[in-house]
């Protein structure tokens, strides 16, 4: 009887130590599911999903608070990827969150009109607008995610949406069925 208690206690202590050690040594800082979801989101940080940024939306999906069809910039590809990751059904994009843009866009500031109010700078989620109070502002185009969050705060409506420029560097061959181009 006594020996049995001692043995069980010893085993309990050993396992306790092992588990305690593992809890510290292999500690996971954040929920890896959230990271995985976050990696699939387009990172426009536009808030169209009703959450303040892509990561909060990822957390909401992980907690089962949000559906996977609330991200218009990601479109169908993101929904399919999320469904794949989470083993959920593919849903059509929720129209309440917005529509898929036909082409990728960025914004530009008409620097002639800009009054330097800094409101757009405060709205930009990725710090892609450069400027200071009463100084001209400009968009760092290569960092612009096309979230359009800077447009509503602008008091003089000097921010325009333009399609992303195609150059020889980012040009893509068209799909053969769409282009119908001749084959030599």
């Amino acid at each position: 009887m006594f020996i049995a208690i001692i043995t069980l206690l010893t085993i309990a202590v050993i396992f306790g130590l092992v588990l305690g050690f593992a809890a510290i040594r292999f500690k996971v800082d954040s929920d890896p599911v959230v990271d995985k979801i976050d990696a699939l989101l387009p990172q426009t940080q536009c808030g169209q999903c009703t959450y303040p940024g892509c990561r909060p939306y990822a957390e909401a999906i992980a907690n089962g608070e949000a559906e996977i069809n609330q991200c218009p910039p990601g479109g169908e590809n993101t929904i399919v990827a999320l469904a794949d990751l989470l083993g959920r059904d593919v849903l059509p994009l929720n129209p309440e969150n917005g529509e898929v843009k036909e082409a990728k866009t960025v914004v530009i500031i008409d620097e002639e009109i800009c009054i330097g109010c800094t409101l757009c700078i405060q709205a930009c989620p990725v710090d892609a607008i450069l400027g200071a109070a009463k100084q001209m502002h400009t968009v760092i185009v290569e960092n612009c995610t096309g979230c359009d969050l800077c447009i509503p705060p602008c008091p003089v409506d000097c921010i325009y949406i333009v399609p992303e420029k195609t150059s020889a560097n980012n040009w893509q061959w068209p799909h053969p069925e769409e282009s119908g181009s001749p084959v030599s």
Binding site: Q45, D127, S167, W171, Q172, P176, S181, V183, S184
Partner: protein, 550 residues
């Protein structure tokens, strides 16, 4: 020279195609006239575009540097003739996208006056270090003239690898193109001299020249040039069977050495470097003559050109000028291609100029332009896999490209595809396979760029949140500090006003003591008066207490 008993390895697949080369090789290479306008794109090579170093209105001389190399993976651009810079703007360039690209436009003055050379020609280049050689080659603006346009100085750097064999690609396997053939016939000594210079830069042990066995005259010319050179023991000239794409870099390397360059690697990884014959001639011109790359040989051919020929063309010459010079009837032209019929691309605007990589302008008469045939479903016959020179499975790649499964398509080594077009030719269903592969490649690259961009956006967003949080904490701390400073009882001695009052009171007290005068109304008070004073004092104390407490 070693005799040509070299064993030739046969690469997989390939096709015997109608050559159509002899129509453009009957005459000697002709000098194209100086055009009225030169359009020089800043990016005629793979890598970073050159930076203009002239302004609109500047007069430039032939050979003058007009755009500097921007970094290591870049080459400069020189004015091909003398004249005046009239524009630096976007113009049509020979590119499959038909997009415009930044160009320097020079109005020529016809005098062709040369600039004072940056480097003098050297016959004894052995005194130069390999780095100096490479620098001169970069400064001359030399890129691979075979068509890819990779900066040549980068391909002349062993990067710690031991270079066993330097291969000169003289195969020129694509139908219609004959510019390398004609260059070898006419400038074989320059090619061999350039080969020697490249050999020195690479410290290569052996040199090999791979030439298709249909180029009899060029072979003879090269052989003579090698025999005439001083030391001809380490150059081997090997004839490979004429079979498209024998001139593909990896196919030629395999044919000559039996070695295969690693799938994702470079030939340098197996100690082999491959250059085009045109590049060798350009290297000769740069080092021995001290001349930058200002012109190249271009084949003008096809059924839309009355007399197909090869021409020395100044870089930047608009294709229109060449068509006019060849008296091509503009109404008859059905299609203009840059490069050969297999790997070339169609251009919509013939205002585009000849660039460093334009080896051929293929003009098809409109009666010969076939309408694109409708693709039928793949029957999985496997013909494409039989002819694929890279041993890929085009039908499988097509399967995934068609359904846009870009993860799976890479499992079948999509990126090893050299886009030679053999599979297109043999496909009984007329499926534009290469189009699908090009589409898949560029889409995958774009997806990779998008992922990179979204990672950057995530990082920037997180940094922004961190910054906002930090600013909030700092603001609160600042606020707290200010509040604490207000609360603290101000030191009386430090306030000049209070000090003055105190000093005045002290003076009065001193005076009172000195004169022994006391206020007359503080003594002999009645009980009533004393009570009122006490009340007043109590009230004052109460008020002070309230004031301090608030």
């Amino acid at each position: 020279m070693k005799t040509a008993s070299h064993k030739v390895f046969n690469f997989h697949g390939g096709l015997l195609l109608d050559e159509h080369k002899s129509i453009s090789t009957s005459k000697q290479i002709e000098q194209a006239p100086i055009p009225a306008m030169l359009v020089l794109p800043l990016s005629q090579h793979i890598g970073v575009a050159a930076k203009p170093c002239v302004a609109i209105g500047d007069n430039v001389l032939k050979g003058q540097l007009i755009a500097k190399a921007d970094g290591r993976v870049s080459v400069p651009v020189h004015a091909s003739s003398s004249g005046k810079v009239v524009a630096i703007e976007k113009r049509h360039v020979p590119h499959p996208s038909q997009l415009k690209s930044e160009c320097i436009v020079i109005e020529t003055d016809g005098r062709d006056s040369p600039v004072e050379a940056e480097y003098t020609g050297l016959t004894n280049y052995h005194s130069l270090s390999t780095d100096e050689l490479r620098q001169r080659i970069q400064d001359a603006g030399i890129v691979g003239l075979g068509g890819a346009g990779f900066p040549s100085h980068l391909k002349l750097k062993p990067n710690g690898h031991h270079v066993d064999t330097l291969i000169l690609n003289a195969a020129e396997c694509e139908p219609y193109i004959s510019c390398d053939d004609m260059l070898m016939r006419e400038q074989a000594p320059a090619i061999i001299s350039g080969l020697r210079i490249m050999q020195q830069a690479l410290h290569a042990k052996n040199c090999m020249i791979g030439i298709e066995d249909n180029k009899v005259e060029a072979f003879a010319a090269l052989q003579t040039a090698i025999d005439d050179s001083d030391d001809s023991d380490d150059i081997e000239i090997v004839r490979v069977p004429t079979r498209y794409p024998a001139g593909g870099e990896r196919q030629l390397i395999y044919s000559l050495t039996g070695k295969q360059a690693p799938s994702q690697g470079r030939p340098l990884d197996i100690g082999i470097v491959c250059h085009n014959v045109g590049t060798a001639a350009a290297v000769h011109n740069a080092i021995i003559e001290g001349k930058p790359l200002l012109s190249r040989v271009v084949t003008l051919t096809g059924s839309g050109i009355p007399q197909p020929r090869n021409m020395h063309v100044l870089l930047g010459t608009p294709i229109d000028d060449l068509l006019e010079h060849c008296r091509a009837n503009r109404d008859d032209i059905g299609r203009t291609m840059i490069g050969g019929p297999m790997m070339g691309f169609v251009i919509d605007s013939t205002t585009a100029p000849i660039t460093k990589t334009t080896n051929c302008v293929l003009v098809t008469h409109q009666r010969d332009v076939k309408k694109p045939e409708t693709a039928l479903p793949c029957i999985r016959c496997g013909e494409c896999a039989d002819v694929c020179p890279v041993n890929l499975l085009p039908q499988q790649l097509y399967w995934y490209a068609h359904s846009q499964e870009f993860d799976h398509i890479q499992d079948y080594n999509l990126f090893d595809c050299i886009e030679c077009g053999c599979c297109d030719v043999v496909c009984p269903s007329r499926i534009p396979l290469v189009q699908y592969f090009r589409f898949s490649k560029t889409t995958i690259w774009q997806q990779e760029k998008d992922t990179e961009k979204s990672n950057k956006a995530r990082q920037r967003h997180e940094l922004r949140l961190e910054r906002l949080e930090r600013e909030k904490i700092e603001k609160r701390e600042r606020h707290n500090r200010k509040k604490a400073a207000l609360k603290k009882e101000p030191d009386k001695s430090e306030d000049p006003k209070k000090a003055a009052i105190l000093a005045a009171m002290k003076r009065v007290k001193d005076k009172q003591v000195a004169t022994n005068i006391s206020p007359a109304n503080t003594e002999n008070l009645s009980a009533e008066q004393q009570r009122k004073i006490d009340e007043a004092n109590a009230r004052r104390a109460e008020q002070n207490k309230d004031k301090n407490g608030s």
